[in-house]
C-alpha cells in the first residue's frame, strides 16, 4: 500500500530557493544554479576507504536475484546497470532514491532487487564517496511516467522505515522523501534544467525587486514566475503543460 506523499522535499526545496534568493545579486546565475544543484548533499569523510562504493554495489548485486541479466557500466562517477539493447535515451522518467549515507548498505539491496523484479531498464549509483554523498545518489530510469510511478510507489513502500536524505527539486513519493520523481529533457537532466530555470528567475527578480528585498519575497516572485512551467510547490514532473515529455 503506497504511503500518502508528504511535503518534506517540498519544504526542503523551498528553503534552498530562499537561500539562493539571498545570494542572488551577489552571485551570477550559473553560480546560483550550481549551488541549487549541489544542495541537499553532505560532505564525505576524506578518510573513507575508496573501495567502499564498489563494495556496497557488489553486496547489493549479490543479494538481488536477476541483476546478472543487466549490463554493467562503470564511469568515473557512476556505476550503471542497463538491460542489454535498451534505448537509453528513451528512459527519461526518473525515480530517485535518497537514503542517508549510513542507510546505504540496507537500502541498496532493496533497490536492486526491486529494480530487477520490476524490469527497470536502467539505473545508476554513485561510484565514489562524493557520488554517494550527493542527494541524487541512486537514480532509476524508465520509459514512461506510469511505469516510473509504479516503481517509485513500490520503493516508497519498501523503504518507508529507512531514513531519508531527500533530493531537492523532485516530486516526493511516499511519506518520508526517500523516493521521488523527475523527468529528463532529451539529453538534459531534470534537476539541471530546473535549477537553471530557478537560478535565472531568482537573478531576474532580485534585479527587479532590488538588493534590499527580503529573500522570501524574491524567492516567492521567482517561483510564481515559473509556476506555468513547473509545479513549483511539489516539483512533480509532468504536472504543467510546458514540461516537455
Amino acid at each position: 500500500m503506497s504511503q500518502p506523499s508528504g511535503d518534506r522535499l517540498a519544504q526542503m526545496t523551498r528553503t534552498l530557493v530562499v537561500r539562493a534568493a539571498a545570494l542572488a545579486g551577489r552571485a551570477r546565475p550559473d553560480e546560483l544554479a550550481a549551488v541549487l544543484y549541489r544542495s541537499g548533499g553532505s560532505a564525505p569523510d576524506p578518510r573513507q576507504d575508496p573501495r567502499w562504493p564498489h563494495h556496497l554495489a557488489h553486496l547489493a548485486e549479490r543479494s538481488a536475484p536477476g541483476t546478472e541479466r543487466y549490463e554493467r557500466s562503470r564511469a568515473e562517477h557512476w556505476n550503471g546497470w542497463t538491460t542489454p539493447g535498451v534505448e537509453t535515451t528513451a528512459q527519461v522518467h526518473k525515480v530517485y532514491v535518497s537514503p542517508t549515507v549510513p542507510g546505504l548498505a540496507t537500502v541498496l539491496p532493496v533497490v536492486f532487487a526491486t529494480a530487477a523484479a520490476l524490469d527497470v531498464p536502467s539505473w545508476k549509483v554513485g561510484a565514489d564517496a562524493a557520488g554517494l554523498h550527493r542527494a541524487d545518489k541512486i537514480v532509476l530510469y524508465l520509459p514512461s511516467a506510469s511505469r516510473a510511478d509504479t516503481v517509485a510507489a513500490a520503493l516508497a513502500d519498501l523503504l518507508d522505515g529507512c531514513s531519508a536524505q531527500g533530493v531537492p527539486f523532485t516530486g516526493q513519493v511516499g511519506a518520508t522523501g526517500i523516493v521521488s520523481r523527475g523527468q529528463d529533457r532529451p539529453g538534459e537532466s531534470w534537476r539541471a534544467v530546473v535549477c537553471r530555470a530557478v537560478a535565472d528567475a531568482l537573478d531576474e527578480h532580485r534585479a527587479r525587486l532590488g538588493p534590499a528585498a527580503a529573500a522570501e519575497a524574491v524567492a516567492g516572485a521567482a517561483l510564481d514566475a515559473l509556476a506555468d512551467a513547473y509545479d513549483v510547490v511539489t516539483w512533480r514532473p509532468g504536472t504543467r503543460e510546458q514540461v516537455p515529455a
Binding site: 548533499g41 553532505s42 560532505a43 578518510r47
Partner: protein
C-alpha cells in the same frame, strides 16, 4: 643464441590500462600473481614494438626512429624497465614456455568429481578456482592446483589441514584427487567477503564484532592443532551473518610439522622480518608468530591501516617491523581505543615472549577490553541555524566575515557530516567568492592548538591533545559574536570538534576546504 639475438614478445595475455590524466600505463599479465606494474607512456610505446616478436635492438631502433630519439639513450633509459618486464613474464622470449597463452583447465558444465562446474571465479597460471554444484544442489568450490614445483606440497598441506579441521573454521572438504602437479579439491562454498571489505559497511562496534569473530576462528584453528600459515584478510571470509571462515590452507601446518614460511608485508612477524633482513633462514612458524599475524589483521580491520608504516624501501620496512611499536590508532586516523590498543600492542610485541600465551588468551583480552562510549557530538542545530540567510549574521556580515562563516560551515560539514552545514557552506562560499579566512598568527592560541593536534595525530601522545582541548575550552569562553574562526567561541567550537577527529584538523587559511 645470445641475449641480443633473442626475439621477445609482448605476451597476448598482457592487459594495459592507461591512467587518465597521467602519462602512465598499468601493465598486467592475465593469470599472473604479479601485481600490475606502472610504466611510463614512453615505455609503453616501446613495449608496443614487441606486439610482434622482435629483438631488443630492433625494437629500440624502430622506436627511436619513430620519436626522433638517440637509440643509445633510449636503450640506456629503457633497459631496466625491459629487464623487469621480462622477469614478470610480460615480455617473454618467443617460443618458450612462458610464451604459452593461458587456457582454462575446465569449462562450465564439466563434471569434476562429484561437482558440476557452474562458473569461473579465478584462473591463474598455476591454479584455478571454479564455482560448482553437487547433485543435491549444494554449492561448492572446485580448486585446481597445477604447479610441478610447489603444487604437490600445497595440496598435501591443504588436505592435511582440512581433514584435521573437518569443517570447523574452514570449508568442509567434499572430494579430492591428487596429481603429480598438485590436484583438485572440491570444498563447500563459503558465502562471505574478505574481512577487510566486510568492515567497510559497518560501524566501529561492527568492526569490533568482526575482529572478535576472526579471533574466535583462530582460537578454534589453533585449538585443533593447525597453523594457517597464510594469514591475511583475503583468507578470512566474513559471512552475512558475521560468521568467519578461514580459507586457503596450502601453507598450513602444525606445531609438529611447521609449514614453510610465507607471507610478508604487514603480516610478517618480527622474527621472520629480522631473518629476512639478515639473509638467514626464518625460524619455523609457531602459534606465537601466527598470533602476531592475526593481531596485525585485527589492527587492519579496526583501523583500515597496517600496524607499521611500510610505505618505504624493503630493508627499512623490515627494520620497522623488527624495531618499532605498532602505531597508535590516532596516528592512522582511527578513533583511539586505549584498552584495545594495549591488547594489540602486546600481541604485536617484537619479542615473542611478551605476547599472549595463546590466541585464546589474546581473544579473551580483546573481548574484555573496555570500550568507552564516544561522547555525544554537540547539538549544532541552533549554531547552524544562526548562520542561515534569514538570520542577522547574513544581513550584517561583510566580505571578510563571510569567509569566516564559509570556513566554519565547511569544517562542520566535513567533521560531522551534517547536511545543513553542507548547504550553508555552499551558500556562504559562493557569497565570499570561495576565499578562505587568513591563517592564524603563529603565536596565537589557535595556531598552538593546531600544532599540538598535529603532534598528537603524529605521535599519539596524550599531552598535546590535552593542550589543544584546554585551548578549545578557553576559546569557547570568549563570546559568540561575531563569527570568527581564529579566536573566540566559534573557533573554540571548531577546535573541540577537531580534537575528536584530529586526523581531519585543518587550520584556517590552509588549502583543503
Amino acid at each position: 643464441m645470445t641475449a641480443t639475438e633473442v626475439r621477445y614478445l609482448l605476451h597476448p595475455d598482457v592487459e594495459t590500462v592507461p591512467l587518465a590524466d597521467q602519462d602512465e600505463v598499468l601493465v598486467a599479465r592475465r593469470g599472473s600473481r604479479v601485481p600490475p606494474q606502472l610504466v611510463s607512456g614512453d615505455a609503453m610505446a616501446l613495449l608496443n614494438r614487441f606486439r610482434e616478436p622482435s629483438t631488443l635492438v630492433e625494437a629500440v631502433l624502430a622506436y627511436s626512429a619513430d620519436v626522433g630519439a638517440d637509440p643509445m639513450a633510449t636503450l640506456d633509459e629503457a633497459f631496466g624497465v625491459l629487464v623487469a618486464l621480462t622477469r614478470t613474464d610480460v615480455l617473454v622470449a618467443d617460443g618458450t614456455a612462458p610464451a604459452q597463452t593461458l587456457e582454462d583447465r575446465h569449462r562450465v558444465g564439466e563434471a569434476v568429481g562429484p561437482a558440476t562446474i557452474t562458473g569461473r571465479i579465478r584462473v591463474l597460471r598455476d591454479s584455478e578456482i571454479w564455482r560448482g554444484v553437487l547433485a543435491d544442489g549444494a554449492r561448492v568450490v572446485v580448486k585446481v592446483v597445477d604447479d610441478p614445483v610447489h603444487g604437490p606440497g600445497l595440496v598435501s598441506r591443504e588436505l592435511a589441514a582440512l581433514n584435521r579441521l573437518d569443517g570447523h573454521a574452514a570449508p568442509r572438504l567434499v572430494w579430492h584427487h591428487r596429481t603429480a602437479t598438485g590436484g583438485t579439491l572440491v570444498l563447500d562454498e563459503v558465502d562471505g567477503d574478505p574481512a577487510d571489505l566486510a568492515t567497510l559497511v559497518v560501524d566501529a562496534d561492527g568492526r569490533r564484532r568482526i575482529a572478535s569473530a576472526v579471533l574466535d576462528a583462530y582460537v578454534d584453528l589453533h585449538g585443533r592443532g593447525v597453523l594457517h600459515g597464510d594469514v591475511h584478510p583475503g583468507n578470512v571470509l566474513v559471512g552475512p551473518d558475521g560468521a568467519v571462515t578461514l580459507v586457503d590452507f596450502g601453507l598450513a601446518g602444525s606445531a609438529s610439522a611447521p609449514p614453510p614460511r610465507a607471507g610478508g608485508g604487514e603480516y610478517l612477524d618480527p622474527a621472520a622480518a629480522a631473518a629476512l633482513r639478515a639473509g638467514t633462514p626464518p625460524p619455523a612458524l609457531d602459534a606465537t608468530a601466527e598470533q602476531y599475524a592475526v593481531a596485525a589483521v585485527v589492527y587492519r580491520l579496526l583501523t583500515g591501516e597496517a600496524p607499521h608504516d611500510l610505505a618505504c624501501e624493503r630493508d627499512e620496512a623490515l627494520r620497522r617491523i623488527v624495531q618499532e611499536r605498532p602505531r597508535p590508532f590516532v596516528t592512522v586516523g582511527a578513533t583511539p581505543w586505549p584498552a584495545g590498543e594495549r591488547v594489540l600492542r602486546r600481541a604485536l610485541s617484537a619479542d615473542p615472549g611478551r605476547r599472549y600465551r595463546s590466541v585464546r588468551a589474546l581473544r579473551d583480552a580483546f573481548v574484555g577490553a573496555a570500550v568507552v562510549p564516544s561522547p555525544n557530538p554537540p547539538d549544532l542545530g541552533d549554531v547552524l541555524a544562526a548562520l542561515d540567510v534569514t538570520g542577522s549574521v547574513w544581513a550584517t556580515a561583510d566580505d571578510a566575515r563571510a569567509t569566516h562563516v564559509a570556513w566554519f560551515a565547511a569544517r562542520v560539514a566535513t567533521l560531522t557530516g551534517d547536511p545543513l552545514a553542507h548547504d550553508l557552506a555552499l551558500v556562504w562560499a559562493s557569497r565570499c567568492g570561495h576565499v578562505s579566512p587568513p591563517a592564524p598568527h603563529p603565536h596565537s592560541p589557535l595556531a598552538r592548538a593546531h600544532r599540538a593536534l598535529a603532534t598528537y595525530a603524529r605521535t599519539g601522545r596524550p599531552a598535546p591533545l590535552r593542550v589543544a582541548r584546554d585551548i578549545a575550552v578557553r576559546l569557547s569562553t570568549g563570546g559568540a559574536e561575531p563569527v570568527d574562526v581564529l579566536t573566540g567561541g566559534w573557533a573554540g567550537l571548531l577546535l573541540a570538534l577537531e580534537c575528536d577527529r584530529p586526523a581531519l584538523a585543518l587550520a584556517p587559511g590552509t588549502a583543503g576546504e
